[in-house]
């Protein structure tokens, strides 16, 4: 089973500490929500966990191997990463855009193999994109584009999926739907999913684990029900909030 370990992760930009001494261990089957205020270092942490940023101290290990030691293509085959507001800069058809995710699996000048084509069809169906497969990607709605990008990330069958703000810009229905898909990827398919999430209610109800980040420090790490309480929310966001209901059905009530 996939195991991702962060050890004493620290990252500076100029004289500013973006991440300070972050350590945790995660494995396949978990859907980890990274929460925290703007500027807490969430995006930087995700990029470091994806191996896209070199930490100044500490290391990230994927199944005991430091990310820095993996070849870029090998790493690309095992983990997928989606940035905030991912978009496509040419008007490709949805199917071809999703197929770009197969890049680390393609050899030489060859095109998509029969086996990969089957995966492509399956992932389009899984992400409810069958009807849009020939649509031009720049004409998709926000929710459709988010699903298409998720399909792009999943098509190469990664064991580790790291997503920066997958719910940003989605209306509530699409946001809850996207969160449900991410959770299913972890709990039903055994992948390790790490996503930064601003909506505390979605984190509380859908994630299996929460990492709370402020000023580059890990303030809390645990199941949503144990970690997300009024004290932490006050610490994180400086707001007065109350958590009502029980785990699974709980919700956060912001007083301000």
């Amino acid at each position: 089973m996939t195991r991702l370990v962060a050890k004493g992760l620290a990252l500076r930009r100029g004289s500013r500490d973006i991440l300070r001494d972050i350590g945790f261990s995660a494995q396949g089957g978990e859907f980890i929500a990274v929460v925290g205020p703007n500027g807490a270092g969430k995006s930087t942490l995700l990029a470091a966990l994806a191996g896209l940023l070199q930490p100044d101290a500490g290391a990230v290990l994927l199944d005991d191997a430091p990310l820095a030691a993996l070849k870029p293509r090998e790493l690309a085959r095992r983990r997928a990463w989606l940035p905030q507001n991912a978009r496509c800069e040419w008007p490709l058809r949805v199917e071809r855009m999703v197929a770009l995710g197969l890049a680390p699996r393609l050899q030489g000048f060859g095109d998509v193999s029969v086996e990969d084509q089957a995966r492509l069809d399956a992932v389009l169906a899984d992400c409810d994109l069958a009807a849009q497969r020939d649509q031009i990607v720049t004409t998709l709605s926000g929710g459709e584009l988010a699903r298409a990008m998720l399909a792009r990330a999943l098509v190469a069958d990664p064991e580790l999926l790291i997503v920066d703000e997958p719910l940003a810009g989605l209306d509530p229905a699409h946001a809850w739907d996207a969160a449900r898909r991410l959770r299913a990827l972890a709990t039903e398919q055994g992948r390790l999913v790490i996503a930064s999430i601003h909506d505390i209610n979605i984190a509380l109800r859908r994630a299996t684990r929460v990492l709370a980040l402020r000023d580059g420090r890990l303030l809390a790490d645990g199941t949503p029900a144990t970690v997300l309480d009024a004290v932490l929310l006050q610490q994180l966001f400086g707001v007065v909030a109350e958590v009502r209901g029980t785990a699974g059905g709980g919700y956060v009530d912001f007083a301000c």
Partner: protein, 326 residues
């Protein structure tokens, strides 16, 4: 889908037909094989073998290089307005070639001309891409204009210092670009550089595809962005630099060729490359035939012709982009 599969064979056949036809007309009139006898036939053989075939091959090679370089630069910058002539590549190549010619290097060592053309193109491309790094469509074009201006000023400086009093006059003609009166020697001089450049550029397709998703996603897909930039830089400088050193500056082929084929292949950068190279060769060949056939006292310079037809198209593209991004 079917349209895109048929594109490459279609362009190839078209190219073959136009290439064959291009051997018939010239400033000296039409050479029709069935109407040549005796010493006429011998002269015609000389004209075709020593003048028209090298000219044809040079048109194919240079056109393909320009079309391909345009497609790759557009893929790298994700900007349909990128073009060797607009990014300081051609003006850098001109500067290099002018230095080689008027310093006397070129006379002492023939390879100096394409070599310095390559070095100049490398300098121009590097400057533009560095200045525009991280910027948008506009900053790339501005950087290209600034770098082109600088390199043209450098060319003017070299001409000022040139020991040949007619240098400026000669160069003003050369800058307009032409394939007239080129020989096998010049083809042999440029071809190895241009072909190497074409091979390097062709190999960037997969990375350019991934780059459709932006630099971050491309990096996450295992694309080495620094290596890709080096490939584009060297490939473009080799292909366009050596081509310009032999033909002078020919603009807008790199802009037009990718645009004409892009929609047919579903806008995928990798699939644009081969058709763009073929289309570039076709465009330059047709332009050269038109230049030869126009009944003017002096042959119209190729660069003038491509500029006259290319710049309205460029303006139209700018206009279209302005509509899309208010």
């Amino acid at each position: 889908m079917k349209k895109s599969r048929a594109l490459v064979p279609l362009l190839s056949v078209l190219l073959l037909v136009v290439a064959s036809l291009s051997l018939l007309p010239g400033r000296a009139g039409w050479l029709l094989p069935w109407r040549l006898t005796g010493s006429d036939a011998e002269l015609a053989r000389l004209i075709v073998w020593e003048l028209r075939i090298p000219r044809l091959l040079l048109a194919l090679l240079v056109g393909a290089a320009l079309g391909l370089a345009g497609a790759v630069l557009q893929g790298l910058t994700r900007n349909p307005l990128a073009e060797p002539g607009l990014l300081g590549v051609s003006s850098g190549a001109s500067l290099g070639a002018v230095i080689a010619i008027y310093s006397g290097f070129g006379a002492a060592f023939a390879l100096a001309v394409p070599l310095l053309g390559f070095a100049g193109a490398l300098l121009g491309t590097l400057l533009t891409l560095t200045l525009a790094a991280g910027g948008g469509v506009l900053s790339l074009l501005l950087a290209g204009a600034a770098v082109s201006g600088l390199l043209l000023a450098g060319t003017a400086l070299v001409l000022n210092l040139a020991p040949n009093p007619y240098a400026a006059y000669e160069i003003s003609h050369w800058m307009m670009g032409s394939l007239a009166d080129r020989s096998w020697n010049q083809l042999a001089l440029a071809a190895p550089f241009v072909l190497l450049g074409i091979v390097i550029l062709m190999a960037t397709g997969r990375s350019l595809d991934a780059l459709s998703l932006g630099e971050q996603q491309a990096a996450s897909l295992g694309v080495d962005l620094a290596r890709l930039r080096r490939q584009v830089l060297f490939g473009t400088a080799l292909a366009v630099g050596a081509a310009t050193a032999v033909t002078g500056t020919i603009g807008f082929i790199g802009l037009l060729a990718p645009h004409l084929v892009r929609a047919r292949v579903g806008h995928e950068p990798r699939r644009v490359l081969v058709p763009a190279a073929l289309m570039g060769a076709l465009l330059l060949l047709v332009a050269d035939i038109v230049a030869r056939l126009l009944p003017l006292a002096q042959e119209l310079k190729l660069g003038v012709l491509t500029g006259l037809t290319g710049s309205p198209f460029f303006l139209w593209l700018v206009w279209k982009m302005k509509e899309r991004t208010p």
